[in-house]
């Protein structure tokens, strides 16, 4: 059977489909959102149900610096992608590096907070329900930040070796969707854990 027999008028018309990378990333984000939803639900459900201390009010402090850094990194990754689309590879590298640095500051902040909670306050996963749900939720988010930072660091290495070109702008943008998602999740985690739950 000749495949040419299939071509009708539509073949000559413009045939545009959504980018598979974007569709794939949005699908992944949907799945990740469902995972985070379950952890957030568990956190809220167990608020105040711990039968022993310490409680969130006793030990949690607002992670202001980390939050500012992480939320700003959404802006810087956006600027990086825009620079790459305008073929400014140097500006891309700069903004990309700033994103990497801001994300790392956030992660170090979480690490210091956990160190403080474990060694000074005696809160671990097995201490009480608050410890279990807190470390799970914040840890799941920190895990996603770590995965994102590994991705950003890889692209940074490629940039240093001059392998990143303007034609990679779409890939960078699709990756930035993930990073924005991680930021949005942090807004929710911050609200639930440090504002409502404290």
């Amino acid at each position: 059977m000749s495949s040419a027999a299939f071509s009708g008028n539509t073949a000559e018309q413009q045939w545009v489909l959504p980018s598979r990378g974007r569709v794939g990333m949005f699908s992944l984000i949907a799945a990740e959102s469902a995972i985070f939803t379950i952890f957030v639900v568990a956190y809220i459900f167990y608020l105040g149900k711990s039968i022993s201390g310490p409680t969130p009010t006793d030990v949690l402090e607002l992670p202001i610096l980390g939050t500012i850094c992480l939320l700003s990194s959404s802006l810087t990754i956006h600027l990086a992608v825009r620079a790459l689309r305008n073929a400014k590879v140097g500006a891309f590298g700069l903004w990309w590096f700033v994103t990497l640095a801001l994300g790392t500051i956030f992660l170090v902040g979480t690490g210091r907070e956990w160190h403080h909670l474990i060694y000074d306050k005696g809160l671990t996963v097995s201490t009480n329900l608050f410890g279990t749900t807190y470390y799970s939720l914040v840890g799941l988010h920190a895990f996603h930040v770590t995965v994102g930072l590994i991705g950003i660091a890889l692209a940074m290495i490629f940039t240093i070796f001059g392998k990143v070109q303007p034609e990679h702008a779409e890939r960078a943008e699709i990756f930035s969707l993930y990073w924005h998602f991680v930021d949005v999740v942090w807004v929710i985690v911050f609200t639930v854990v440090y504002v409502i739950g404290r």
Partner: protein, 557 residues
């Protein structure tokens, strides 16, 4: 129709050494090879899960039987359930989807071929991990042990105190890993269907199989993820001393139920929607009519997809929820019968007035229609919470959900096997053997699952390893077990037919059914690149347009 096909079939012509050919299957990223790997993997586990069911039915054939011990019986029903859902039906459906979706939408492969391979091997590794628990369950303690807490693994049975050793951990990790594979497959299905369609194939002109798999993909993303999350929590409980489901530290066993069933109920629809997809492709071809009510079919499936996320707690009526909770979940569970009923009427409307050909695929689809209706009716009975208080956790429930999973889903999977076997292998199956398969399996199915409702009504609880004589359950259990032997004979006829036809079947040609969708326009089996030139379509039945240029569909759609 084969005169201008570019690729020639290579069946039986491959002269390379066996090692090289096997290596090609391991490293492949081709959607057709991965689809077949999924399907073969599913069949292997179907046989394993079937043997587990057979052993359980032999144990229950007479009262006070000692064929297996109570401990082994617990492991058998746990492994049977987990295997059949996660490592038989899901891989079979994903396998057909992976194989067929690119061919039906005129693409040369999935959107992400390597993710496709990754997803398959994650699923495969999950199944191996689950069965490794038979030898690794007690770890260094020597004696083997498989998980024995039931396939929904209610807390506190999964707590360290009640599940020592590693059997529960193998179960958790197996589901976690195969769940990641399922999410990868769903991402791939959605991206392929939305972004890889051939020119002219707008969403309204896609084959229903593509539409229904798109909806299934969306449901996998939102339903498998809660299971993944719950498995992570269970691992935290078991390994890090967490308290998510530890009632002694204030945790909640009911929360696990909610998390499990918010996965578990959509999962039923994740399994049945692709089964609907098979029926929606096969029934029109063997009725020689286009599908009746295409847009309504799509709308009804989307509706099922949405409503299926609001019915989960009808699995938990016996837990003791509030009256508002019971009412809400009773009502939503009944609402879902409306779009499902619409679909049944549409399939009947497709058959109405058609020139029906009762080949094996059509026989299985007709069986599906009939049995799915009964499964739905017992479903409405169980959705009524007072009725469920009476029969929850009885054999009535077991009969109901096997009616769905075997009577509806497995029947359409068999239909899909016979329908697409000529495309995948290039050879026809043996119709006589296929008819034997159908009638043996049909008889066995009804002997087993029709009569299984009755001991449930008489009060026989599920998951008991034996029972006292004199309760009126004996004759029903005997009939149920006899039915299993008929089903086994049917499956043997099926496997024998597949193996025999693979080597000795008549060459099928490109289009043995005179069908209308794009996969029948390429060679059987299709070449590595699927289509020599990218097709372009103008209607839902591109091959009809090609065969009937004087009366094409696109004039009317």
């Amino acid at each position: 129709m084969s005169s201008e096909t570019i690729a020639l079939s290579t069946v039986g012509q491959d002269a390379r050494p066996i090692g090289e050919r096997l290596h090609e299957w391991v490293v492949t990223v081709d959607h057709k090879k991965l689809g077949i790997l999924y399907i073969v993997y599913g069949i292997v586990f179907l046989v394993i899960g079937g043997i587990e069911a057979l052993i359980m039915r032999i144990q229950l054939v007479v009262p006070q039987n000692h064929f297996v011990s109570p401990q082994v019986f617990n492991r058998l029903f746990t492994m049977h359930g987990t295997t059949m859902i996660f490592f038989v039906v899901m891989p079979l459906l994903f396998g057909f989807g992976t194989y067929l979706i690119p061919l039906m939408i005129g693409a040369r492969d999935m959107a992400f071929p390597r993710l496709n391979a990754f997803s398959f091997w994650m699923t495969a590794f999950g199944g191996v991990l689950l069965y490794f628990s038979f030898i690794g369950g007690y770890g260094l303690f020597g004696a083997g042990n498989a998980p024995d807490m039931g396939w929904f693994a209610y807390a506190p049975l999964t707590a360290r105190a009640f599940s020592p050793g590693h059997s529960t951990d193998f179960w958790t990790l197996a589901l976690l890993i195969s769940g990641i594979g399922s999410i990868g497959t769903a991402v791939n299905f959605i991206a392929t269907i939305l972004s890889m369609r051939c020119p002219g194939m707008t969403l309204g002109k896609m084959p229903l199989l593509a539409w229904l798999n798109l909806i299934m993909g969306g449901m996998v993303l939102l339903a498998i993820s809660p299971l993944t999350a719950a498995q992570i929590m269970l691992s935290i409980d078991r390994y890090l001393g967490g308290h998510f489901f530890d009632t002694q530290a204030g945790g909640s066993a009911v929360l696990w139920m909610h998390f499990f069933w918010i996965f578990g109920h959509p999962e039923v629809y994740i399994l049945v929607v692709p089964a609907f997809a098979f029926a929606s492709e096969i029934i029109p071809v063997f009725s020689r009519k286009p599908i009746f009510g295409y847009p309504v079919m799509v709308a009804a499936t989307i509706c099922i997809g949405f409503v299926s996320f609001s019915v989960w707690a009808h699995h938990m009526f016996t837990v003791g929820m509030s009256a508002y909770g019971n009412t809400f979940f009773t009502v939503t569970s009944m609402i879902i019968a409306v779009p499902t009923g619409i679909k049944i009427f549409n399939w009947l409307g497709t058959m109405w007035g058609g020139k029906i050909q009762f080949k094996a695929p059509m026989l299985f689809c007709v069986g599906f229609l009939f049995q799915f209706l009964i499964a739905g009716l017992t479903g409405i009975m169980l959705a009524t919470s007072p009725f469920d208080w009476q029969l929850g956790n009885s054999y009535f429930v077991v009969a109901h959900f096997h009616y769905v999973i075997v009577g509806a889903i497995l029947f359409t999977i068999f239909a899909a096997f016979y329908y697409w076997f000529p495309k995948m292998s290039g050879r026809m199956y043996n119709e006589t053997f296929a008819k034997w398969h159908f009638w043996l399996f049909f008889l066995g199915f009804h002997l087993t699952f029709d009569f299984m409702h009755i001991p449930g009504i008489l009060g026989m609880p599920r998951r008991i390893y034996t029972y006292e004589p004199g309760r009126g359950w004996e004759i029903w259990n005997l009939i149920v077990t006899i039915g299993v032997f008929f089903q086994t004979a049917g499956v043997l006829a099926f496997v024998a037919n597949l193996v025999w036809s693979l080597w000795k079947g008549k060459p099928a040609g490109n289009d043995p059914w005179d069908a209308w969708t794009l996969e029948w326009s390429t060679s059987s089996p299709p070449a590595d690149y699927d289509f020599a030139a990218t097709p372009a379509v103008r209607s839902r039945r591109p091959l009809w347009d090609l065969k009937h240029p004087e009366d094409p569909d696109w004039k009317y759609e």
